[in-house]
C-alpha cells in the first residue's frame, strides 16, 4: 500500500498541451475521485499514473518511488477500464489469473487469490465461463476482480460504471465503496457522474482544461467552492448565478439589498445560491423574486424553474409545491453562509 504524489506533471501530444502542470498529494488509503467536463484530461492523467501515457515533464511517485521510467506492470497499480477490456478468449478464471501467470506466481497462490477475489465479488459460479457469456454487471465485477488479485498499491478506475444501467450503477457503486472499506487500498477513480464523486470520494479533484481547480473533501467543495466553476460543477441541480449590482455597503439582485463586506475591492460580481438553499419568504424580506415558469416533479421533491424580473433564470427546490400555480411570483431568501460571491471576471470566490 502506498500513497501517490504528482509534481508539476505535464503532458503534450505534439504541439497540443493537454495537462498543464498538476501537483497532487494523495494519502495512503484515500479514495480520490477526478471529476471535470469531458475532455479536461481526467483519463489522460489516470493513464499517466498507470504508465500507459508517457509523462512529458514532471514526476509521478507511488509510495516514495518515482515511477516515470518504471514499466506499467511494475508500478504496483491495477486498472479497471470503462469498456472492461476483458480478454475475450479466456475464461473468467484465466482472465483474473493472467497477470499473476505473467509474474510467474506459484499455481496454488494464484488459485487462492483468484478464488478469494471471486468470493468477495460473488462471481464464483462463473469462473469457467468466457466474458461473452456474462452480463454487463458480471463483466464489470470480473474486471474489478482482475485488479484485486494483483494486490496493487493503487487501484485506478476509469469511469467503470458508465456502461451500466442506473439500478446496477447504484448497486455497483455501493460494492466499490464496500471494497474500499475492506481493502483500504488507495483508489483513484475517474467519473463524469457527480453523485458517484460525492458519495465515494474521500477527496475530490475538480479538473478543467488540464489544471486542478480545487482539491478537497466533497463537503468542503460543496460548501466552500474555490471558484464559480467548481460551484457550478459540484451539486445537482447546479448552483444558480445572478448578476448583482453594487450598492452602498452591499449588493442587490433585484430584491432586498444583501449587505456584505468583501475583503477585496471588485467592480462586478456574481452571486450564487444553490437551489436547495432558497427558502420561500414574504415580499418584504425577499432577496430574490421570480415568476414560476416550469415545474419538474421528481417524486420526493419538486424543482421549480423561475425567471427574475431581469430575465435571469434560476431553480428552486421544494418539498411540495402546495397551491402555487404557473405564472405566480414567488419570493425567496437564503441564509448568509449559503450566499456565495464570485468575482465576475476571474470567477474566484470572494469572502
Amino acid at each position: 500500500m502506498a500513497g501517490l504524489t504528482i509534481r508539476d506533471a505535464r503532458k503534450a501530444y505534439g504541439e497540443t498541451q493537454v495537462i498543464h502542470g498538476i501537483d497532487l498529494d494523495i494519502a495512503d488509503g484515500d479514495f480520490v475521485v477526478f471529476v471535470g467536463p469531458s475532455g479536461c484530461g481526467k483519463s489522460t492523467l489516470l493513464r499517466m499514473i498507470a504508465g500507459l501515457e508517457e509523462v512529458t515533464s514532471g514526476d509521478i511517485s507511488i509510495g516514495d518511488r518515482v515511477v516515470n521510467d518504471v514499466a506499467p506492470a511494475d508500478r504496483g497499480v491495477a486498472m479497471v477500464f470503462q469498456t472492461y477490456a476483458l480478454y475475450p478468449h479466456m475464461t473468467v478464471y484465466k482472465n483474473m489469473a493472467f497477470g499473476l501467470i505473467q509474474a510467474k506466481t506459484p499455481k496454488d497462490e494464484i488459485d487462492r487469490r483468484v478464488r478469494e477475489a471471486a468470493k468477495i465479488l460473488d462471481i464464483e459460479n462463473y469462473l469457467e465461463r468466457t466474458p461473452r457469456a456474462l452480463s454487463g454487471g458480471q463483466r464489470q465485477r470480473v474486471a474489478i476482480g482482475r485488479a484485486i488479485v494483483r494486490e496493487p498499491d493503487v487501484f485506478l478506475f476509469d469511469e467503470p460504471l458508465s456502461n451500466l444501467d442506473a439500478a446496477l450503477r447504484g448497486q455497483t457503486r455501493l460494492e466499490i465503496a464496500r471494497l474500499h472499506q475492506r481493502l483500504k487500498t488507495t483508489i483513484v477513480y475517474v467519473t463524469h457522474d457527480q453523485v458517484e464523486a460525492m458519495t465515494l470520494a474521500d477527496k475530490i479533484v475538480v479538473l478543467r482544461d488540464g489544471l486542478i481547480e480545487q482539491y478537497g473533501a466533497p463537503m468542503e467543495l460543496y460548501e466552500n467552492p474555490a471558484n464559480k466553476f467548481v460551484a457550478e460543477f459540484i451539486g445537482s441541480p447546479s448552483m444558480n448565478f445572478f448578476e448583482a449590482s453594487q450598492e452602498k455597503g452591499g449588493f442587490s439582485i433585484g430584491g432586498k439589498k444583501v449587505s456584505v463586506k468583501l475583503s477585496q475591492e471588485v467592480n462586478a460580481i456574481d452571486i450564487g445560491i444553490r437551489p436547495e438553499h432558497l427558502k420561500q419568504t414574504t415580499k418584504q424580506k425577499a432577496v430574490l423574486s421570480g415568476t414560476l415558469d416550469v415545474v419538474e416533479q421528481l417524486g420526493d421533491h419538486v424543482l421549480a424553474h423561475l425567471v427574475t424580473g431581469q430575465g435571469n433564470e434560476f431553480i428552486a427546490k421544494f418539498e411540495t409545491l402546495g397551491d402555487i400555480k404557473l405564472g405566480d411570483t414567488l419570493h425567496f431568501d437564503a441564509t448568509k453562509e449559503n450566499i456565495h460571491f464570485f468575482d465576475k471576471t476571474s470567477g474566484a470566490r470572494l469572502v
Binding site: F81, A85, L86, Y87, P88, G99, Q102
Partner: protein, 313 residues
C-alpha cells in the same frame, strides 16, 4: 407453410440452374470414368465415341491407381504444394500485417505496394518469376550466384586468407525447372502472389483489435510475445481459417504455374495429370477427376470443421 411457398418458387429457377450446372458435368465425368473413351485409336475406332457398349467398370480407376505412373506422385505433390503455400502465406501474411499495422511515414503507399502482387495474372506471375528471378543464368538467381562466385574468387587472391577461401567450392545456381525443384518454384511464386491476400485479411482484422485489452495486458505484465500469443492470435483465428479455406480451394486447382515452370516435368498435381490424360484417354482423365473431387472433399471437410470451430468460439 404457405408463407414459404412463394419464396421457394422464386428461388427454384436459380437453384435448379445451379444444380444442373453441377450435376451435368459431374454425372458426365462419372459416366466417362466407367467406359472406355479415347480421342484417337486406330486399333479400336469404336472407343472414340462414348457409348455404354464400351463399359469398362472400375477398369479406369484400376488403371489410374495401379498402372499410371504419375497418379500417386500427383496426389502427393498436390498436397505438398497446397500445404506449403498455406503455411508460408499465413506465416508471412501475419508477420507483414503486424509490421504494417503500426503507423510510420508512407504507410499508405507501402500498403498499396504490398497488395499489388495479388493483381498480377497467374500466368504472367509465373513467366516473370521463372525467367527474371529463378533462371539460373539470366535471372536474379544466376546473377547472384555469379556475383558470389566472383567475390570468393577475388578473395582467393589475398595472401593468407586466400588459402582459406580456396577451400570454398564454386557455387552452382539452382535450376528451378529441374525435376526436384520445380515444385519449389511453383510454391515460391504462388506464395508471393497470395501473401498479399492474407495480409489484406489479417490487416483489416488487426484494425478491429481492442486496444484497451492490449493496455490491460500491458498492465498485467504481458510482453509483446505474450500479447501476440494470448490476444492477437485468438483474435485472428477466424481470418486465418478463412485464408486457409479460400486458398486451399484455389490452389488444389493450380495449373498455369506448373505448365509454365516445367510443363509438368517432375512436378504434376492432379489437375495437371487430368490434363495429361485428357489429350487422349478421356476415361482415365475422368477417373482421375473423380479422385480429385474426393481429395478436394477431404480437404474441405477438414477445413470446414476447423473454420466451424473458430466461428463457434
Amino acid at each position: 407453410m404457405a408463407k414459404r411457398t412463394l419464396p421457394r418458387l422464386l428461388q427454384a429457377p436459380a437453384v435448379l440452374l445451379l444444380l444442373l450446372w453441377m450435376l451435368i458435368p459431374l454425372s458426365m465425368t462419372l459416366y466417362f470414368s466407367f467406359i472406355r473413351y479415347v480421342l484417337n485409336s486406330l486399333r479400336k475406332p469404336e472407343w472414340t465415341t462414348p457409348s455404354l457398349s464400351n463399359w469398362r467398370g472400375l477398369g479406369n480407376y484400376e488403371y489410374v491407381l495401379f498402372n499410371a505412373k504419375d497418379f500417386w506422385f500427383a496426389v502427393q505433390n498436390s498436397v505438398f504444394i497446397v500445404t506449403s503455400i498455406l503455411l508460408l502465406t499465413v506465416a508471412l501474411g501475419l508477420a507483414i500485417a503486424l509490421l504494417v499495422n503500426r503507423s510510420f511515414p508512407g504507410r499508405g503507399i507501402v500498403r498499396v505496394l504490398i497488395i499489388s502482387p495479388f493483381f498480377v495474372m497467374p500466368a504472367v506471375n509465373a513467366v516473370l518469376w521463372i525467367n527474371m528471378i529463378l533462371d539460373p543464368v539470366l535471372g536474379l538467381n544466376g546473377l547472384a550466384v555469379e556475383g558470389l562466385n566472383g567475390l570468393v574468387a577475388g578473395l582467393r587472391e589475398f595472401p593468407l586468407l586466400g588459402g582459406f577461401f580456396s577451400l570454398w567450392p564454386e557455387i552452382e545456381p539452382i535450376s528451378f525447372r529441374a525435376t526436384q525443384t520445380s515444385a519449389y518454384a511453383v510454391i515460391m511464386m504462388v506464395t508471393w502472389q497470395w501473401t498479399p491476400f492474407a495480409v489484406l485479411i489479417f490487416m483489416t482484422s488487426l484494425q478491429s483489435e481492442d486496444q484497451q485489452q492490449k493496455e490491460a495486458a500491458i498492465l498485467d505484465g504481458a510482453n509483446a510475445w505474450s500479447q501476440f500469443r494470448n490476444l492477437t492470435l485468438p483474435h485472428l483465428a477466424r481470418p486465418i481459417a478463412i485464408v486457409l479455406m479460400i486458398q486451399a480451394i484455389f490452389h488444389l486447382s493450380l495449373y498455369a504455374e506448373i505448365e509454365i515452370v516445367s510443363r509438368g516435368n517432375g512436378n504434376k498435381n492432379l489437375p495437371y495429370l487430368i490434363g495429361d490424360f485428357a489429350t487422349n484417354n478421356i476415361g482415365a482423365a475422368s477417373a482421375t477427376g473423380i479422385f480429385a473431387v474426393i481429395l478436394a472433399n477431404i480437404v474441405a471437410i477438414f477445413l470446414i470443421r476447423m473454420v466451424g470451430k473458430s466461428l463457434m468460439d
